[in-house]
């Protein structure tokens, strides 16, 4: 026979609403004012550089404005034309492909390197600096260096492959290799920031939990899967969101290295927007494309959130 002991539930009295005193009201008001004052610079910045341009972009997307002295409202015509536009379709597919390949690979490689840099190894400072250098280097400079690496005649890539008997490749002008070549640069360039973030997160993983799990007999892999990986959850989401935004907005790398070619093989959305707006002078059309890009990023971030929630629920 067993008896269940139940803890007596204390009688909880309903909270009584107490009217704040005059002094506390004054304090709250002054705190609210201070809060708005501190928020004001950021709100002002966001208002001028984000809210107003977004409103203008959405409004322009319903016009045929092309920098001339006349324009008219065209309703959804820009959007209709956009979905029939071969360049837009190519840019859309290439951008999604670029993001789908670059984001997971760069996140996985960054995490692996961050785990390596989180160990007590010799020359740690050097490696941390070396991995971060591409992040603080101008993309144009990076692109120029990679242009040389990919140079079919005298580039390092073909030079290295020739040691193994491979024929020289036209990396950036061959339709089959142009986009993958850019992806390699994109992955390499994006490592530094992600590594730093992962490294900070890894150093915040509870030592107690790691030691406890080790004492319980968990091996390295089990400790990583059951302790480290769950602890990285919020950081994973942050890295994912910033990576989505970054890869969908890839521009300078493509602009310098291929300008979207050959044909439309490396055309990406921001480059297409830029060309439509400032080369072809179709600002209304380019604005419609911008709105689509914003929605696309929102959708991918939403998917990321769903994955994150599913991961947490698991």
């Amino acid at each position: 026979m067993s008896a269940t002991l139940e803890r007596p539930t204390p009688a909880v009295a309903a909270p009584r609403r107490v009217a704040p005193s005059k002094d506390s009201r004054k304090l709250i008001r002054s705190q609210v004012r201070a809060g708005w004052l501190l928020l004001a610079p950021a709100l002002l910045h966001s208002g001028i550089f984000l809210v107003i341009p977004i409103i203008f972009a959405v409004a322009l997307s319903f016009t045929d404005y092309s920098f001339g002295d006349s324009w008219s409202w065209v309703g959804f015509e820009n959007y209709t034309v956009l979905f029939g536009d071969a360049n837009f379709r190519a840019a859309f597919v290439n951008t999604v492909m670029y993001a789908v390949v670059v984001i997971p690979i760069s996140m996985a490689v960054s995490l692996a390197i961050a785990i390596g840099l989180n160990q007590k190894i010799r020359g740690l400072g050097f490696f941390r600096t070396a991995f971060y250098v591409p992040t603080v280097t101008a993309t144009v400079a990076i692109a120029t260096i990679w242009l040389w690496i990919y140079n079919p005649g005298s580039g390092l890539a073909n030079g290295f492959l020739s040691l193994f008997g491979f024929a020289p490749n036209q990396w950036l002008s061959d339709p089959g290799t142009a986009l993958p070549s850019l992806m390699v640069v994109g992955i390499w360039q994006g490592l530094g920031t992600k590594i730093i973030i992962y490294l900070a997160a890894l150093q915040g993983v509870s030592r107690d939990l790691l030691e406890s799990s080790a004492l319980d007999g968990a091996n390295r892999w089990q400790r990583f899967v059951n302790v480290t990986w769950p602890a990285l959850g919020p950081v994973q989401f942050f890295v994912l969101v910033t990576s989505i935004v970054g890869t969908f907005q890839v521009f300078d790398l493509v602009y310098v290295m291929t300008d979207g070619g050959p044909g439309t093989e490396t055309m990406v959305l921001v480059l297409d927007i830029y060309q439509n707006a400032f080369q072809d002078l179709r600002l209304g059309f380019a604005s419609a494309e911008t709105v689509i890009l914003m929605l696309l990023i929102a959708v991918f971030i939403g998917l990321g959130r769903l994955l994150q929630k599913a991961d947490v629920n698991d």
């Binding site: 004012r33 339709p175 070619g261 072809d280 002078l281």
Partner: protein, 426 residues
């Protein structure tokens, strides 16, 4: 929302609206000086100009033009914007969006009709510039490129011409006569295939014919098409979606990866025929035969000619000066253009940019006499053909490039590509 929060939002909104309204104003724009005696006119003349390179020499030559302008407008300031052809449209479009238009805009051949149709350029007729004046004092063949709906919107400064060159030594080695260059597309293909060298693996080691179009076939296509007697546009209507147009595109397609690898260019981004990397090819309008350039021996090996598949033509672009239709200083802008087109200024611009002065008798200019290629292209300016011809050429030329490339790479059918492009023309 609490009262504090509400008042914060209201204040923020007021600031934003104020800033937005302020940014739409014309506070930085001068009062118009048109009609004011030049000696009394004050203000800032905004000049957009890609004709002076970003070097000390470039700035020095520009200052000479300003000094000449100031003889007429002593109190006016000149604010130059030394753009490049790569960012010219960005500069113009952002200046319009910002409400601070340029007074003088120097653009290229393909720009004038598009900007005239958008009413961004002013008609030069009121300043006495007519097609007859251009024919009399400048290059008559450039008149069509400067006209839109029977009005003239630009004054040529320099011409940027292209020729074709061959290496005499390569011709002799292949048993061809360098004094009888192949000029038609059919002849060029036969000769180029003979001149192409390959290694044991079949990799091209010397290009037979350099199309000078690693990423863009637009100008090469325009020139080759015109050499069949078929201009790109006829009376403003597209003239390439036809048998000649398809034949020309098919010809380019047959040359790529046959006599030249797609995307080939050297580190100096110079025509490959200058260095012997190609036996024949399209060139620019000048060659430096000094030791700092390609050297006299290389120069002596070059022979120049033009495409001729029924009509001898020479592709010509160039720098043309226009007055902004929204300029606040139109009279001063015209005075500045007059300083810009003086022979001394034009000679300096031509030398700095390796282009040909767009004045009468350019063949006698210092630039034409400075090297054999400039002399050759200067003698053929009246055979000029140019790209464009429709009001929306600037809008569609990027797409023109892209689609031609796709057709050349076999991703699209040439005939369908040209029909599609023709349909986009307005």
């Amino acid at each position: 929302m609490r009262r504090g929060a509400r008042s914060g939002v209201v204040v923020l909104a007021a600031v934003l609206v104020g800033l937005a309204a302020g940014s739409c104003g014309n506070g930085v724009i001068d009062k118009s000086t048109d009609g004011v005696p030049p000696a009394e006119a004050t203000g800032t003349l905004r000049v957009l100009i890609p004709s002076f390179p970003a070097s000390n020499k470039g700035r020095e030559e520009f200052d000479k033009v300003v000094a000449d302008f100031k003889k007429t407008y002593p109190k006016m300031k000149v604010e130059p914007d030394f753009a490049t052809y790569g960012n010219l449209n960005e500069k113009i479009s952002t200046s319009i969006a910002a409400g601070i238009p340029y007074d003088v805009m120097v653009t290229g051949v393909g720009w004038v009709q598009t900007f005239a149709s958008k009413r961004l350029f002013a008609d030069l007729g009121p300043y006495g510039v007519t097609p007859e004046v251009i024919r009399d004092k400048s290059i008559g063949a450039m008149v069509p490129a400067a006209m839109y709906e029977d009005k003239l919107y630009a004054y040529p400064i320099v011409a940027d011409a292209r020729a074709v060159a061959l290496r005499a030594s390569a011709f002799k080695e292949a048993g061809l006569d360098p004094d009888k260059p192949p000029k038609s597309m059919a002849e060029l293909k036969v000769a180029a295939e003979k001149l192409t060298k390959r290694d044991a693996n079949g990799t091209i080691t010397r290009t037979g014919f350099d199309l000078a179009a690693p990423l863009s076939f637009r100008q090469t296509y325009t020139t080759l098409l015109a050499s069949t007697g078929t201009p790109l546009y006829l009376d403003g209507q597209p003239n390439y979606s036809n048998a000649k147009g398809v034949e020309t595109l098919e010809w380019i397609k047959s040359m790529i990866n046959n006599v030249q690898v797609y995307g080939q260019r050297n580190a100096a981004q110079q025509p490959l025929v200058y260095t012997g990397e190609a036996a024949m090819g399209i060139t620019g309008g000048a060659v430096d035969c000094s030791d700092k350039g390609i050297g006299q021996a290389n120069c002596d090996d070059l022979r120049f000619f033009r495409f001729d598949s029924g009509k001898e033509v020479q592709f010509v672009g160039g720098d043309l000066a226009s007055i902004g239709s929204r300029a606040r200083h139109k009279d001063a802008a015209w005075a500045f253009i007059q300083s810009l087109i003086k022979p001394s200024s034009v000679d300096a611009i031509a030398k700095l940019n390796k282009k040909i002065p767009a004045y009468k008798d350019a063949a006698d200019s210092p630039q034409a006499k400075s090297n054999p290629l400039s002399k050759f292209v200067a003698s053929g300016l009246e055979l000029a053909i140019y790209e464009g011809g429709s009001a929306n050429w600037l809008e569609m030329r990027g797409n023109f490039d892209t689609q031609l490339t796709q057709a050349v790479l076999g991703q699209k059918d040439p005939a369908k590509t040209l029909a599609n492009l023709s349909g986009q023309s307005r």
